[in-house]
Each structure stands twice: as C-alpha cells, then as structure tokens.
Symmetry: C2
Subunit: 408 residues, 2 copies
C-alpha cells in the first residue's frame, strides 16, 4: 500500500487503493473519463497514461473494450502518477474538485440483466407475492434466476425519478385501475460491468470471469410493487421496473477489490457442472440504505447465494454473447436479519409492519420528495474502505399529461 500526494480526507470512499472510473464534465467542458481520488477526479484524457485516447469520450466503453491487460496497465500508471511526487506538477492541473464537476452515467449500457440471487430476498418476496406456493421456486437453487431489464432507462445517481403510473388490481377488485404507483420501492443491488465482448454461440465459463468483467457499481432497481404484481405473470417484470434504474457514478475495478474477495457461502444441492466455480468467491461488500438521511437498512452482499462468476456463466451458457457495456445486477441484497433487507417491501413486510425510522417516520413505501441513498464499500486488510460511492435519487410526483391519463 502506498500513499498519494493528493490529500485524501479521512473516511473518503476513494483512497489511493480504490481509484474508481467514471465520466465527468468540468465546468464548461465536454464529458470525459476520470478516476476519483479523495474529493478530486483526475482527468484521464489530459495526463500521460496508456490508451489515453480512449478516455476522451463520454463513456468508459472504449477503455472497457481494451481488456484486462490494458485495465492493469492503466491502473499501474495512475497509481504511479498519484503517488510519485515527481508527477505532481504535471498532474495537479488535471485534478478537478468533485463538487465542481457534473457526473454522467459511466457506461453506455448495452444489455441490462437483473438477477434474483439473494435467498433471503427470494424467500421474503415469494412469501408475499405467492403465498399459496413454496416461497422459493423449484428452480431457484439450480440456476441463478435472471431477466432482461430496460437498458435505456439506466440513469446516473442524482437523477430524479418520476413516480410511475400504471395498472394495478387490488386482490378484491374485479378490474384493474390506473394511476400513480402507490407502492413505490427500491432494490439495493450490486452491479457488474462487462468490458470485453464474447462470441455469439460460445459460452463464457466461470474461469473466464476476470477476462470479461471489469468492475463493480451500486444499483437501485426502483420497483413499483403494485404495477409489478398485476403485470408480471407469466412473462416477468416490465413496467413495474422499466421507468428508471439508477447506477452509481463510479465503477470500481475488480483489481481494487482483490482484498474483498471471500468464499461463496455453501451451495446445496450441488450445482450442474457449468456452474461449478473452482475458485467460487464473492465480495465482502457492506451496503447502507438511507431514506432522507436516516439509516433504513444494512444489506450484506456477502450473504448472496449465487456468485457473479456463476451469473456470468449462466447468462451465456446458451451461447448469448456479451457486449462491452453490458451491466448485470445481483438482484436485491437482503441478509437474514430484518435490518438487512434491501427493499421497503421486505422492511415493511408488504406494508403490514411499517419500518420505524429514528425520526419517528413510519415507512412502508416511498412518498413524493423522498430521497433514497445507497452506499457501499469493502474494507481492505488495513482497515481502509474501498468505497463504491453512492447511488441516490429523489421521487418526483407522477406525470400528469392530461386528465384522461390520470383518472385516479
């Protein structure tokens, strides 16, 4: 471990050990790629690093496509620039204060897949959505269940989220009604960002995970539970989730998370051979969910049942190809304890037992004006936090195009 000549405030999520990648615009400037350190961002398009031309772009995709060797080369180079004081005079002019720049979606998202890999979450939701069936579907422990989401509505942290309208049908009603969602929720998730593409028709194995996946981000899969419950059978979630999915501004490289690797929890029954990972690991990431600043939950990523490598192998075992910019998310991270649940649906048990916040507010679902912030970090061996930054969003009132659209 080395020290940077850039002063890093205590508790910053972005120490020299981290160096996450993002896209930013300095005041009056065009979007470009950078690396965060402390409360600064280094303009990678303006300093001497390998593949510098790939950083003068409004997304990380060009850099991500270069592959693992290039990712390592750049990281080594950035560490050198930020630790050797000899570089300080040349580099310092290209460090911008984070509070002076605009952050953009770091990746031009190709396909977005959402998994469902927390056993605790699946058990909770199953019990609420399908009370007459076993909480865990019969396929759940044989494959990491996943589905495609809407890539075009991934938005960067800080983007306001308009409350969606749609159809919902109370169980005792004859017909659906239409109006703004009354059960607007979050899902605290960890996302994996694909760098290197693969060939159509050729599966990617668990062993190839590090050749294809560049890094990790935080994701909030906003969910309108009333819309979802009415629409999702038989073909899965659609409008209950497609209105917005928020992504953190920073992608932390797998290299930076090396010390956060932990063994995957035991899987029983045994998985099929294509899902066997001889080096089955996950990441020891702590998450925090805050509602208007108050702590609502502390989901532990370490409790997920399926590993990111297994998710990748499953997603491609049918020959589906990867593209640079593919994002796949873990599904809601919920731990075994009540205070570790990653959605308000679970935290309030479907609204039956509202969550009581320190301020006294009782929360079942989100109200207009609510701001949700999810943070996450790994703790390195020396106690330093490798932060994933945050993913936040504020709920705006439903759109009212005309009286007909919003009869409610």
């Amino acid at each position: 471990v080395t020290t940077s000549w850039v002063e890093v405030p205590d508790g910053s999520p972005f120490p020299i050990q981290n160096l996450p990648y993002g896209v930013f615009s300095p005041a009056g400037g065009a979007p470009r790629c950078g690396v965060a350190i402390g409360d600064r961002v280094l303009d990678l398009s303006a300093v001497v690093v390998p593949h510098a031309d790939s950083f003068a772009a409004p997304s990380l995709n060009g850099f991500l496509a270069l592959g693992r060797a290039a990712w390592s080369d750049v990281r080594r180079s950035v560490i050198d620039l930020l630790t050797d004081p000899a570089h300080q005079p040349a580099v310092e002019p290209h460090l911008h204060r984070l509070d002076s720049v605009v952050l953009h979606l770091p990746v031009e998202v190709a396909d977005y897949v959402d998994f469902y890999s927390s056993e605790h979450h699946a058990m909770n939701v199953g019990a609420m959505f399908r009370p007459d069936n076993p909480a865990l579907p019969p396929n759940w422990k044989h494959l990491p269940i996943g589905y495609h989401g809407r890539a075009g509505t991934l938005v960067v942290t800080g983007t306001d989220v308009v409350r969606p309208s749609g159809q919902r049908k109370p169980p005792d009603a004859d017909r659906p009604t239409f109006g703004p969602s009354l059960r607007l929720d979050i899902e605290a998730e960890v996302a994996f960002v694909v760098g290197t593409p693969s060939t159509l028709g050729v599966p990617v194995t668990t062993a190839d995970f590090r050749e294809h996946v560049f890094g990790v981000a935080l994701l909030n899969d906003w969910s309108a539970r009333d819309i979802q419950a009415w629409e999702y059978q038989p073909l899965g979630p659609f409008l209950g989730k497609s209105f917005a999915t928020s992504l953190s501004a920073w992608v932390v490289s797998l290299e930076a998370l090396e010390t956060a690797r932990i063994p995957l929890p035991h899987q029983d029954p045994d998985v099929l051979p294509y899902l066997v990972d001889d080096d089955a690991w996950t990441l020891d990431l702590a998450l925090e969910v805050r509602l208007n600043g108050e702590l609502a939950s502390e989901p532990p990523f370490s409790t997920m049942y399926w590993s990111p490598g297994q998710q990748l192998a499953h997603m491609t075992v049918n020959g589906a190809s990867l593209r640079t910019g593919d994002v796949y998310a873990s599904g809601t991270v919920s731990g075994p304890e009540v205070g570790q649940r990653g959605s308000f649906l679970e935290l309030s048990w479907g609204g039956r037992d509202p969550l009581q916040l320190p301020s006294g507010r009782e929360v079942s679902f989100l109200e207009d004006g609510d701001r949700v912030t999810i943070t996450g970090w790994a703790t390195a061996a020396d106690g330093v936090r490798i932060g994933l930054g945050e993913v936040s969003g504020t709920i705006l009132p439903a759109h009212s195009r005309n009286g007909e659209v919003h009869p409610a």
Copy 2:
C-alpha cells in the same frame, strides 16, 4: 401509383410502392444505407437525397432519429429518383444487384421488447405450459403483456443459429439436467422499429405513434421450449430466448404500408383510457413460415388482439423513454386455424401431434440443419405486394466447449 424505370421482376416483394430501408456492403465496400427496389438496392449515400450524410453509416439509426418529416422527404425524393427517367443516368451506377451485396442488421438495436399479443397464441401456450390454470392469464385482456429481451443477440436474416444448451427438467425428474435444447422452436413475429426518442418520465400516447415509429420488419424469436419451461417462473423468459433473435434485413416504412391499415378487431372488455386509440388500426399482413422450403404455416397478423399503437402507449405509460433503434415485436402471430399457428410448439401441440409436411416429414421441433424462412407482405389496393422480405436462419449443432459443459 407510379412506375419505376428500374425493371422490377414479377412477384418481387420490393416494387416502387415499397422502398424498404436496409444496410448493405457492396463487394469490397463499407456498410451503408440503401433502399431496395426489385432485385436491386440503391446506395442512398451516393445519390442526391435529403439528409444524405445520415446514410453513409452502418445502421439506419441516424436517419431514423431525424423524425417523420425527414422520413417523408427522403421517400418523396427516392420515388422521384427512381421514377423520373431523367435521373436514370446519374442514379443507375448506384444501384447494386441484391445478390452481389452483403446485408447487415439494419438497426443498431437499443432496447428490444417482445409482446404477447395474439390471443390464439396465448391460449395455446397457456393450455400447454399452465394446464392447471385458465389458458389466458387474468391480466391478458387488460394490458398488452410484454417483457424485455436481449438486444445484443438480434442478428440479421441469414445468420446461422447455434442450438442453445441449458437446463431443463422433465416433469417427472427430481433434478434438472443439462444439454442441447431438445425442443428448439421459432416464433413468427412482426417487429416495429422506433425512430424518434422520447423524454424519460413522459408517456407516449397512442396518438403519437406515427411520430415515433418508423417502420416494420419481420422477426423470428427463436425459443428453446425446454429451457424456457424450467427457467421462466417467476421472472419470465431468459436463456430460452436470449441466444438469438433474427430480424429481416429490410425495414418497411409505415408510409409504404398506408394501404394495409385495417381496423383493430373488437376488444372486450373495454380498455383503460390510456390504451384507447381513437384510430385503432393494425396492418393486414400475411406471413408464411417455411421449413426447408416447405410451407408450414400461414399466420395472419390481422388477427392480433393488441395494436402496435397500444403496445407503444403501454410500454411508455410508466414514463419509460424510447431511444432511436428500439425494436418491439408483436409476439408470436397465431391465427384461429391450425395452419395459422406461428410456432412449432403450437403446430405440433407440444410434440403430441407432429406437423406433417408435404414431403412426409413429421415436425415437432427443429433439427440441426433445418432452415426456417418467414416471409410477409401486405397487398396494396392494386394487388401489388408490399413485401417485408424474409427472415431466415439455419440451425447449427450445439457448441461443445468441453466434455464438462455437455454431459448429455
């Protein structure tokens, strides 16, 4: 109706009334945009048309983004170029024989959504997949059910399709097994291509359909029924469909299909106000499915329950935004008659009653080497066919990466 100075062979799907858009490479040349007429393609990047710069690109997206007025301007200009003999000397050098060029995916696909809008198909599949429940889910007549598919595995007609491998569990087995799909199938569909984007948070109404949707193509949503049946509950189809989805090379503009507009079949019960379309219409498109050249089915698009305008309004009513290059498909087109079913699952009733082809071959699902070709067309008032071209693909044997991956 006018006549082109380009000779159009009898029965060509591409008369002067059509002029579909695609992307092609002439021998030794880079991909560019063109319009098909007869057995030729006109290089739009090389002739004098409005917005010519948008056609020197490997996808139609630049042109699609220009919007409805530009689409009309270009169509008028191309009609003029191809009908006024005065233009022949300047234009003829830029007409390439279709059999001398390579056709590419016409659109850089943003998000891909698949609907489920044929009542006959939904009834058939429901009866087979969910025999203990009503064939039609309770939400089916209240909303056009849809889900997101994998945009990155849309491929152009003619691309071979590798048989996918995956998990499947026979009903009487204790555990799933792994291997190449044993129930590989097609879904004959009609796709709609979005040109003009919309704003996140703002629904698009049925009345705005023509401002956003440019045109129509054919789509084959290849489906591995055994993989799908095991994986799809509770979050919908994933690997059973994501290995490949084939799109025709030509996008026919809505303007060219003006005479194919017909009223939508009656909907009962009444739909919610946001799905009301004062000018509810669909297209009178005939489809043909051929297996190795033999006619297998004749699905009629006119029998679809939900209109393309309703699908668009539903897809965005929650505020989800559109991007240029979004593709949404109708779902399998199946008519009321046995010979009008758009999948082999239905044509063979799940394999129970194999379809007998004229050659004597009995078909339940696809074998390696099988070639499926779907064609489609509208018939204009003067009896001229406005063809959608074709979408075809040949099944290749499953990939065998190593013994472990394919224990079956």
